[in-house]
Symmetry: C2
Subunit: 525 residues, 2 copies
């Protein structure tokens, strides 16, 4: 049944059906108003989980064999449906996240652009990476195929872009994998609205019923059951280290282990070289302060670690950064629990280092996070692993190293990170070659004279990094290559042309660039 009404219903979406069998109910919270939201959500039962997976498994052979054009039409219709219900989605988004309307609008715009980008990726299908070798011994042709139904977990800090119709979901749909979304409990209302838009799009474009389901829960049990299910083939997750590690562990303990792509956060080291701060310290202090405080610091690419070698100029820079942070406007955090964790984490860091004066203005408003900046020595940083822990929020730590050698030691000591940034004059980079090499070995993305926040959705983006930033540094969760997480190669040897996947047929009906006997060509064979 297609309906043009959309409202927060609190039900699970299982294929084309709504379902609310369970007895466990929960609500979301308006952190800004400091009160519960009015909607009641019904946690999915074991039976509902089983139905969703069964429908996904049944949909897989049909959905995966559709032409990319058909999947593209589905994705484009998701964007259209979301646009149609934009006002409702934004209203619930703001009530559930305490983020400002401007941010909600920006994130929706980005999410829609991302959906349309993956519609194009589904259509063009260059990710199939077709490779053909024909010689007198054999005719072997390889193409990527989708892995099977996957589970996507909504992320607390991106109710749209990294949640229900976010990058994980749409990259998996583009590849041909049915998706079961486990909504984030903090924004289940936003998630159900988007889920309804996806369901309507699936019906309008005649997708097999199980191509998408949406399950609710207030704790972790539904997610765990999904990751354990034998008919699930992959998992996308953005969240805490403990959450990602637990899911990854469950997935590895299965009789048939499955990949978990967990993006688990990062402190995103920024290395400040001496030349640039002598010339332009105030500018970079302000730029960094804005990046630290952006969205109440609730970004996985938040610059949480500032590294430099001790000097008068660096000390001045740190003070400028402290002052610039004082002048930043505090804002409300996503949820009381996230605010509490920030306060606790931020205070713990103050105990372990020296607080650089930052006014705690507006911190009397409930759940408003005041920026904080703490200073430690390179020696202490290396000795105390607790100093590497991410404080989710507008927090940053300055690590003052005695010399370049200690700076190198600090970087070598770092855990894997999503990003690493160098602030420096181009002419001083050569002198810091080993610093840059060390930093590269720790990160997925290197930034020069910029800030790590702001993750561009494009072909060249790498949003992922060595463990524990993610569980698998070989893949990205943002940008075109995100689709590669949901596929695996299959080779066809001496296979009849009529039975080959489109990407491998002699006449190259998808007009793909293919490796043919070692050369790239889009010619027919």
């Amino acid at each position: 049944m297609t309906t043009d009404k959309i409202r927060v219903l609190g039900e699970n979406t299982i294929g084309y059906e709504s379902s609310a069998e369970g007895a466990i109910k929960f609500r979301t919270f308006n952190s800004l108003l400091n009160e519960e939201n009015p909607w009641t959500f019904c946690q999915a039962t074991a039976h509902e989980i089983e139905s969703a997976v069964k429908k996904a498994a049944e949909a897989f052979p049909i959905f995966s064999s559709l032409l990319g054009l058909r999947r593209a039409a589905f994705l484009e219709t998701i964007a259209l449906e979301m646009e149609k219900y934009k006002a409702e989605i934004l209203e619930v988004y703001v009530a559930e996240s305490a983020l400002p309307l401007g941010r909600a609008e920006g994130e929706l715009t980005r999410t829609l652009a991302q959906i349309r980008r993956f519609a194009k990726i589904a259509k063009v299908a260059q990710w199939t990476d077709p490779t053909i070798d024909i010689n007198d011994k054999a005719d072997i042709r390889k193409t990527n195929v989708p892995i099977g139904p996957v589970v996507v977990f909504g992320a607390s800090n991106f109710p749209l872009a990294f949640s229900t119709a976010g990058g994980d979901t749409v990259s998996a749909l583009a590849a041909g994998c049915p998706v079961i979304v486990k909504a984030h409990p903090m924004h289940s209302g936003t998630s159900t609205l988007v889920a309804q838009a996806i369901r309507m799009a699936a019906q309008k474009t005649n997708m097999p019923e199980g191509v998408f389901s949406h399950l609710l829960d207030g704790d972790n049990s539904v997610g765990e059951a999904l990751v354990k299910h034998p008919e699930v083939y992959g998992v996308g997750f953005t969240g805490s280290f403990n959450g990602g590690k637990a899911l990854s562990h469950i997935a590895q303990q299965r009789e048939r282990p499955i990949p978990v792509f967990a993006e688990m956060g990062s402190v995103n080291p920024v290395v400040v070289l001496p030349g640039i701060i002598e010339e332009n310290g105030a500018h970079w202090a302000l730029t960094l302060a804005e990046s630290v405080n952006l969205g109440a610091g609730q970004f996985c690419t938040n610059p949480g670690l500032i590294l430099g070698v001790q000097s008068i100029a660096f000390k001045t820079f740190c003070n400028q950064l402290g002052k610039a942070l004082s002048e930043q406007k505090p804002s409300c955090m996503l949820h009381p629990k996230i605010f509490e964790a920030y306060e606790k984490g931020s205070s713990a860091m103050e105990q372990m280092g020296t607080r650089i004066a930052v006014d705690k203005k507006d911190s009397d408003k409930a759940h408003f996070a005041a920026p904080n900046l703490v200073e430690v020595s390179g020696g202490d940083f290396i000795k105390n692993a607790a100093l590497q822990q991410e404080v989710f929020g507008p927090f940053s730590m300055v690590v003052i190293c005695d010399d370049v050698e200690e700076l190198n030691a600090v970087i070598t000591h770092l855990d894997g990170q999503l990003t690493g940034t160098i602030l420096g004059n181009p002419d001083e980079l050569d002198a810091y070659g080993s610093v840059i090499t060390s930093l590269q070995s720790k990160v997925g993305r290197l930034i020069f004279n910029g800030v790590p926040t702001g993750v561009e959705v494009c072909g060249a983006m790498q949003h992922g990094g060595p463990y524990p930033a993610t569980t698998d540094s070989r893949f990205t969760s943002v940008g075109d290559d995100a689709v590669k997480r949901w596929v695996r190669p299959v080779a066809f040897q001496n296979w009849p042309d009529s039975m080959l996947p489109e990407s491998l047929k002699n006449d190259n009906p998808l007009c793909l660039l293919r490796r043919y006997n070692g050369e790239f060509t889009s010619q027919k064979i």
Copy 2:
């Protein structure tokens, strides 16, 4: 010191040094002569393991930043050195494997071709997959970089092609990863000779010392210590399910988990459709029998499972297959332990099914494996998981299904496999669409009217498949894409051109095909 003498010394190779510190000694066995070989090998100590890893870690930043041309020269010199000592290598190979000289020569030829293929891959470096997006917001460029030192385990059944200078090692070296080989205990002599060739090549081409080390052990302890070592970043393994699973488990339990690419075997189902056997049954029975018995059946792509729907023609085909297997010449297995496991596994299968008459000729010779063929019903196969276990050797099992529905159920019930084969007339394939779809979901390579043995080294090869055939179905251990196991992408944002990796520089010095703002081009920027 470069030397032109080469002989089995029984020492570990640690960078450019030989080392034999340990007290634990072991020997290899000549299965054909039923006696120990004359050489004594010295198991690596904890200190030697530490030295090898330390040298590899020190070599990594140097080796990984060399131009691909330099790494190519190293690989090409390995091939030259191995050719120079061909006679010695082949003699020890035969003594340690009981495989005929012709097979040894063939495997050496293949191994040398593979080394030279990866030399070209190192030089061309298209695997860096360079991707560039430049717009008014940012300049983002992504390229693959090597992950770090890796450990490669020699495989029992391919003393050259899947061992010391085999596909795992040379693909990792091509990518820029130093390699520590843990020699297979059954052919440690062959392995030390090849290791000496690699060491000489490294010295002649001025590679950093730790680029290659070679450690010996008679059990599993050295391998386990290597996989646990914090400075190891990846593992390549070809061997048993239990071995691969154990290593994978160790790698996951580390503080920083690392990828283990384990190829753990397969029964390689062959689905026989009715049309083809009515027309050409005797031909395919002989072809399959030869494939089952090739190399005493000691191939991971050995066709160990023949599936068909009951009919007089299929019964006749099974008898023809039994007769053809009787006429195959038994040959000596690699090692008494492997022979014993074959006898035990083969007998256990006979207890669970019905033996199809195969003469057990020549089985009086020690360690000579007589081919065996056992028949079970589709119903029994589904009920008894033990029937899916691989019997390593010239064994195959016929599964006779009541109807196409049961055939489909059997395939759905299968574990992940390296290969799946369809023997059929082209005009009968349409009627078996669901069988083919099911089979595809279980395998890494599909073969039409051929046999799965014979794994072509080319761009389109996929040697890998869903768990438990391998630990990671997204990668191949044979063919050009094997290099992708040892790399991860790094994005450079607004990075100065002079500091970018060669693959990303504006003037495209490596002349690579690059994705630039969504289009493939080899133009400069």
